[in-house]
């Protein structure tokens, strides 16, 4: 550091750094290069996630493209039969879609009311202790592998339902949907609760000061204030239900069936993909490509729900 010792108050002009640099400053320069390399590496790790999305879209679109060259889009959308592996092949996605919508509908009828009530209870009624126990428990419930839920639906719930309703077939969308609903409760409850807890205490205090009870405050003050978060929790629940695979593959049977009656067996988009993957389809055959077309439909559906959730969150967000 001779330069700075001789001229302590004058800044070193940057152009002169090249020649008379001290050892310590030179080390700094190499340090700078190393920093840059590390930053570049970390950036590529973050950018990798974009690559994954691009790869998903690329693979699905590429294989679906070949599929739609043989099967016109109108057949895909409006045909009422789904028999891609038969000689008389039909490719009506509506058949699979009906199974997906029916089972998701049943699941949401369970998950949304129960999830909302649990969220309101945990956020507005329950004491600290209850919440500390209930939240991790809900997480555990959400962490059970879906194949186990499928087993439960098939071997426990279906026989139980058959006692009440003897005509129920062994495979049906109803018990799969009900169990799926239980599986989704934690997602809905936990996200809704987070949204409610984010509502400032002053709003509640104002409401209590006006003489409102806990329930009135919860329903008429906290819930409206948290509505954007609650709505996006519902949307997440819907997209979980639509994308759920193993419960349906195990408990709903895998026969394509154009129906909105939950007491019938049916195939969904996801369980069809599993069914085909279990068989031995040659790479590049039309059956192989159908699963990519089905997957693309699924991806577009979940993407639409995700965008809707994103929009709802922005549109109805209350900022405090």
């Amino acid at each position: 550091m001779t330069a700075s010792a001789v001229l302590p108050s004058r800044p070193v002009p940057s152009a002169s750094l090249g020649r008379g640099v001290s050892d310590r400053l030179r080390k700094k320069a190499s340090r700078h290069v190393k920093e840059r390399i590390i930053e570049a590496l970390l950036f590529s790790a973050a950018a990798f996630s974009v690559f994954v999305t691009v790869a998903i879209v690329y693979v699905l679109v590429k294989e679906s493209w070949v599929f739609f060259e043989t099967v016109p889009l109108s057949d895909f959308l409006f045909d009422t039969q789904w028999t891609p592996l038969f000689d008389d092949a039909h490719y009506g996605i509506m058949v699979l879609l009906s199974g997906t919508l029916t089972s998701s509908g049943v699941a949401l009828l369970v998950a949304i009311p129960l999830g909302t009530v649990i969220a309101i209870y945990l956020s507005e009624f329950a004491g600290f202790k209850v919440r500390e126990i209930a939240k991790p428990f809900l997480e555990l419930l959400g962490g059970v592998p879906t194949i186990v839920y499928g087993y439960f639906a098939l071997t426990f719930l279906t026989p139980l339902l058959q006692k009440i309703y003897p005509d129920l077939p062994g495979f049906n969308l109803l018990s799969a949907g009900l169990v799926m609903g239980i599986m989704i409760i934690p997602y809905v409850a936990s996200l809704s609760e987070d949204a409610m807890r984010a509502v400032p205490m002053a709003l509640r205090e104002g409401s209590y000061a006006m003489g409102a009870t806990r329930l009135q405050t919860a329903l008429w003050v906290v819930t409206p204030a948290a509505i954007s978060g609650i709505a996006s929790a519902y949307i997440l629940g819907i997209s979980r239900a639509v994308g759920e695979t193993m419960i349906l593959a195990v408990a709903a049977g895998m026969q394509p069936n154009l129906t909105f009656n939950p007491t019938e067996p049916g195939a969904t988009i996801t369980s069809y993909i599993v069914q085909v993957a279990l068989g031995d389809l040659p790479h590049g055959s039309i059956g192989y490509q159908t699963i990519f077309a089905a997957g693309l439909t699924l991806l577009l559906m979940t993407l639409a729900f995700n965008l809707l959730g994103y929009w709802l969150k922005k549109r109805f967000r209350e900022v405090y």
Partner: protein, 311 residues
């Protein structure tokens, strides 16, 4: 105006209060009841599986290959496969996820590229797992030619849990006070030195929680692995990791065909014979036990973390 002295008015007000309190109580009960639906379902599920499956759990069940005869069948190839696949998943997902999380918290400038990456990650978290299976089928199995191997499955699950690890890393880093950064920079540390010596050590418990939760999810994932075409009847073990002839033989194991616990369970569940259902219950019990243990560990780590660290 209510006349305060009028006993009828007072009675009317008290009636209103009593009614409102009854509704409060009613709703609180409804909330507990709803929670109980979850608790009850889980207990029944767990007990039902335990009653059916636990008698089947002996040493032989863990050391036998699957068999055409239900009584002789075991889960040896399944649990070995699960362990190996998880090894690949962890090796791929943890460095990548942590690096991405660190970049987004410590390095990323505020611009549209960062925005795209962030939106993209939250979007990836919402994509159904079976779609990752299709990606893996097209990309890993056929395009890269990894085949239906441990490598393909491990990488697929790694992609699936990547958002979980990234989000956990970011949350853990965000919990570190700004003063730690400032102190480090004030001493002349570079960004990387700050990250290596301060940010990563202090956030490691939080990151670990996320990693465990991600791995617990990966262990139970069935759909993407079925989609890449994993076989369900595997009556042999892959070569032990790093045991082959070096250098090429060291990695023989990652290209081996395999099966995993959830697939073995699916296979047994979809058979009509009752004896196989018992096997499925036993395998399911082991599987739930593993995921519960991992989730419990994550909750414990987080609890310890909250208790011990006071900034």
């Amino acid at each position: 105006m209510v006349n305060a002295a009028d006993p009828n008015a007072i009675r009317a007000v008290r009636a209103i209060i009593a009614r409102a309190k009854r509704w409060d109580l009613f709703f609180a009960l409804l909330g507990i009841l709803s929670l109980m639906v979850g608790v009850l379902t889980f207990s029944v599920l767990f007990l039902d599986m335990a009653i059916q499956g636990v008698p089947r759990l002996d040493l032989e069940f863990f050391t036998s290959f699957p068999s055409r005869r239900a009584a002789n069948a075991g889960i040896l190839s399944a649990w070995v496969g699960t362990v190996l696949v998880m090894l690949v998943t962890a090796l791929a997902a943890v460095p990548l996820g942590v690096a991405a999380g660190v970049y987004l918290e410590e390095y990323a400038p505020k611009n549209w590229i960062t925005d795209i990456i962030e939106i993209n990650i939250s979007n990836l978290a919402g994509i159904p797992s079976i779609v990752y299976g299709l990606l893996a089928l097209g990309l890993f199995v056929y395009y890269f030619g990894f085949g239906q191997s441990i490598l393909s499955a491990g990488l697929t699950l790694a992609l699936l849990i990547l958002p979980v690890i990234i989000v956990a890393t970011r949350e853990a880093i965000r919990a570190i006070p700004q003063s730690i950064h400032e102190g480090s920079y004030a001493c002349g540390a570079t960004t990387w030195q700050t990250v290596r010596d301060h940010i990563l050590p202090y956030s490691s418990a939080g990151i670990l929680t996320g990693v465990i939760i991600g791995m617990a999810r990966a262990i139970g994932e069935t759909a993407p692995i079925i989609t890449i075409g994993a076989l369900t009847f595997i009556a042999f073990l892959p070569t032990a990791p790093f045991s082959g002839e070096p250098p090429a033989g060291l990695f023989d194991w990652i290209f081996a065909p395999f099966t995993v616990m959830p697939i073995q369970m699916f296979n047994w569940t979809s058979r009509p014979e009752a004896a196989f259902t018992v096997n499925a219950a036993a395998a399911g019990f082991v599987l739930v036990f593993m995921t519960l243990a991992m989730n419990g560990l994550a909750i414990y780590v987080r609890y310890r973390l909250r208790k011990n660290i006071k900034w």
